[in-house]
Symmetry: C2
Subunit: 354 residues, 2 copies
DNA sequence: GTGAAAGCGCTAACAT
DNA sequence: ATGTTAGCGCTTTCAC
C-alpha cells in the first residue's frame, strides 16, 4: 500500500515545464503544437518513470466525456446475460471504453434506482435490457423514460419498450418461433402447445405470436394448448398441474414450443416422469412417442438435448447494440427504419429423427 | 432527448441563494449548519421541481471519493461468477455504492488492462477474482501487484495470490475436497480418481491437496489416478482418452472427484457412453456399478444429478468480500489472522444409495 | 516552442 | 443563518 498518484502539476514541477505543455505532449498533440522532439522525449520518459497516470475524473470533467458506458440489466444469473455482456465488453474494450454494470436483480425498483445512479455518473451512453414484468404486474417505467429522454444516447437489447425506446437491437423472435413451430408440425405434431412465462416484454409476446402464426397456417387452432406461467420460478408446480390436466382430458400435446431455456429442461424432466419408458421412437412398435420439444435457448449440459433449439445470437446482440451506441455517441443520426435492428436466429435440430 | 442537467450554480441563481447553502441543505447538513427550515424546504422543493441532480464527477473530485468500487474477474460466462456478483451487488446497493465491472475474458493481458483502467477511474476499492493461468503458462502479475500495492484497498475472492494478496475471502477448498473424497471412499470406492484443470490457482491446488489427504489417510495411494487437463475446453478429447487408457489398463476408477461443475457433467456423459446399461445399482445382479462422481459445484439441469456435490457459497463469498472491502475503505485495520477469510462449504449427497 | 489563465461543478473552511 | 472563497486535476485557447 502507499503510493498516491503523481499529478500533472507535480510532474510539471519536476520537469520545469508548464502543465499545459505536458498535457499536450502526452495527448499526442506535440506534433501539431510543435513541441520540441527532445522535450517530448523528456516528458514521456519522466512521466513513465514516475508512473504518471492522468486523473480520470478531472479529465472527464474538463472534456465532458467519461469514456464509460453504463449497462443495466435485470439479472446476472441468466446465462444469456453473460453472452450479451461478452459482446458488449468486446466492443467496449477495443474502443478503450469502460463498462459500468448494474443489475436490477429481478426487481423493477432496483432498475429505476440503478438507471438514476448511472445517469448521475455522467456516462457517455446507456445500454439497457429492460426489466420484464409479468403481465398485470405494476411496473413504473418513469426511470426508463427519463433515461431514454435524457441527452445521453441509449440502446435497448433483446427487448424494447414501444413508445419509449427509440433504438434497440433484438432477435427475430416472431419469425424464429414460427419456424420452430413449423418444424414441430413438419415432424408430425398435431397437438403442438406453447409453454412460456407470461411476461409483458416484446420478446415473449412475439414468440407467442410466431407460434400462433404457425398454428393458424397449419389449421391446428382448435387442437393447440398453451400455458403462460405467472411465476418467475420454473420449479413451481404449475407446469406439472397443467400436464396432469391435459393428460386427464386426453389432450396431452405431442409437441411443445417453450419460450425459454430452463423451462424446456424442466418440461423434459416432467415428461420423462410421465412416461418413463425409453425414447419411444427407439424401440419400434411403441405406441406412444414422447412429445417433441422446441425451445428458445441452446444450453446443453454436455449431451445432446433431443430438442429443436433456437440459437439466440446474444453475443451479437450485445456487440451490435454497443456499436450502435457508439455511433449515437459519435453524433451519427440513424434513420427511423434502422433504429430497431433485428437479428436472425438459427435453428438447431437435435431430435435425431433420421 | 434533450434536457441537460441543471447545475448547482444555476439552481442557486433561481433561488437567489449561494451554491454553498444549497449544497449543505441538500446534503442533509442543514440542521448542523442551521439553515432556516423554510429555506431548506424551498431549496428541496425547487431542486425537485427542476430535477437537479448533482454532478457526480465534480462531487467525487472535490470529496476525494467516488462511491464506486471496481470488480475485475476472469470470465462472466461461468455460472459461479453470477453468484459472486449477486453477493457483491447486494452489499454495494445497500450502501449506495456503484459497482464497476470489467472482465478479463480469459486473457491475462486483458486483466492487466482492466485493472489499470479501473485504478485510473479513482474507484474507492477493488474486488478481484484473479485470472487463472495454466500451470506453466506465462503470466505477468505486475498489474495485480500494482493494484494491490496502491492506496486503494482491495480484496480477492475465491482465490488469491500468495505473497501479493493481503485480503481475501475464499472457500475451504482443501477440507471440502477431503470430505468429498472421504464420502466416495465411504461409499465403497477403492480406486478414486481426481479430475481437474491444471490451473495455478490456490483454489484448485487446494482441492487436489484435499483429495490426496483423503487418499493417503485411507491408504489408497497406489490405486488412485489423476488427470490434470491442460486445456480450457472441457469438450477436448483428453478426458475420453484418459478414460480409454484406464479402461485398457483395467484401472477404470470406481469414483471421481471432479474439480469443477461442467467437467463433471461431461464426465458423466462420457461414462454413460462407456457403459450404456441402466443405472447399474438398479437391476440387482449387475456385475459392474457405474462409477460415483463427486464434484465442486451444484448446477443441476432440473433433475437429480446422482452425484455428490460440494455447494460453493459463492454469493456469501461475494457478500463477505464486499463487506471486508468497505471495512478497509472505512479505514479499519484488519488483524493478520483475519485477512484471509475462509468460508465453509456444504456437501450435498444425491447418490440415492438408500 | 512554451506558458498563463480560465474554468468544468462541486464542497468545506472561513467569514460575516 | 447565509455567503465568499479557494481549490480538486485537468484541458484548451490565446498570448508571448
Amino acid at each position: 500500500m502507499g503510493k498516491r498518484n503523481i499529478t500533472l502539476k507535480e510532474l510539471a514541477a519536476v520537469l520545469s515545464l508548464s502543465p499545459a505543455t505536458i498535457s499536450l505532449a502526452l495527448d499526442g498533440k506535440g506534433e501539431t503544437y510543435r513541441i520540441a522532439a527532445e522535450t517530448r522525449r523528456r516528458i514521456e520518459e519522466t512521466a513513465n518513470r514516475l508512473g504518471y497516470r492522468p486523473n480520470h475524473l478531472a479529465r472527464s470533467m474538463r472534456r465532458g466525456k467519461t469514456d464509460t458506458i453504463g449497462v443495466v440489466f435485470p439479472d446476472v444469473s441468466e446465462a444469456y446475460m453473460n453472452r450479451i455482456l461478452a459482446g458488449i465488453e468486446a466492443v467496449a474494450l477495443e474502443r478503450g471504453v469502460s463498462v459500468m454494470i448494474a443489475t436490477s436483480s429481478l426487481d423493477s425498483s432496483a432498475e429505476a434506482r440503478n438507471l438514476d445512479t448511472l445517469m448521475d455518473r455522467s456516462i457517455d451512453g446507456l445500454l439497457l435490457v429492460p426489466y420484464a414484468p409479468f403481465r398485470g404486474e405494476a411496473y413504473k417505467n418513469d426511470a426508463v423514460r427519463r433515461a431514454m429522454e435524457s441527452v445521453i444516447p441509449s440502446v435497448c437489447i433483446d427487448r424494447y419498450l414501444p413508445g419509449i425506446t427509440t433504438h434497440a437491437v433484438i432477435g427475430a423472435d416472431r419469425e424464429a418461433a414460427r419456424l420452430a413451430a413449423e418444424r414441430l408440425i413438419a415432424a408430425g405434431c398435431r397437438r403442438p402447445a406453447y409453454l412460456g412465462f407470461d411476461l409483458a416484454i416484446t420478446t415473449l409476446v412475439e414468440r407467442r405470436r410466431g407460434f400462433n402464426d404457425a398454428i393458424k397456417a397449419a389449421g391446428l387452432t382448435g387442437s393447440s394448448d398453451e400455458k403462460l406461467l405467472t411465476e418467475r420460478n420454473p420449479d413451481s408446480p404449475d407446469i406439472r398441474e397443467w400436464l396432469t390436466e391435459l393428460t386427464a382430458a386426453q389432450r396431452l400435446p405431442d409437441g411443445f414450443l417453450v419460450s425459454t431455456d430452463g423451462l424446456a429442461l424442466k418440461l423434459r424432466s416432467l415428461l420423462r416422469k410421465l412416461s418413463p419408458a425409453g425414447r419411444g421412437s427407439r424401440r419400434s412398435g411403441t405406441r406412444r412417442k414422447r412429445p417433441l420439444i422446441a425451445r428458445f435457448g441452446e444450453d446443453s449440459p454436455y449431451f445432446p438435448t433431443g430438442m429443436i433449439s433456437v440459437r439466440q445470437p446474444h453475443e451479437e446482440l450485445g456487440r451490435r447494440a454497443t456499436e450502435k451506441l457508439f455511433a449515437l455517441i459519435a453524433g451519427e443520426v440513424i434513420p427511423k427504419e434502422k433504429q430497431i435492428e433485428i437479428i436472425d436466429m438459427e435453428i438447431i435440430d437435435e431430435t435425431q429423427h433420421h
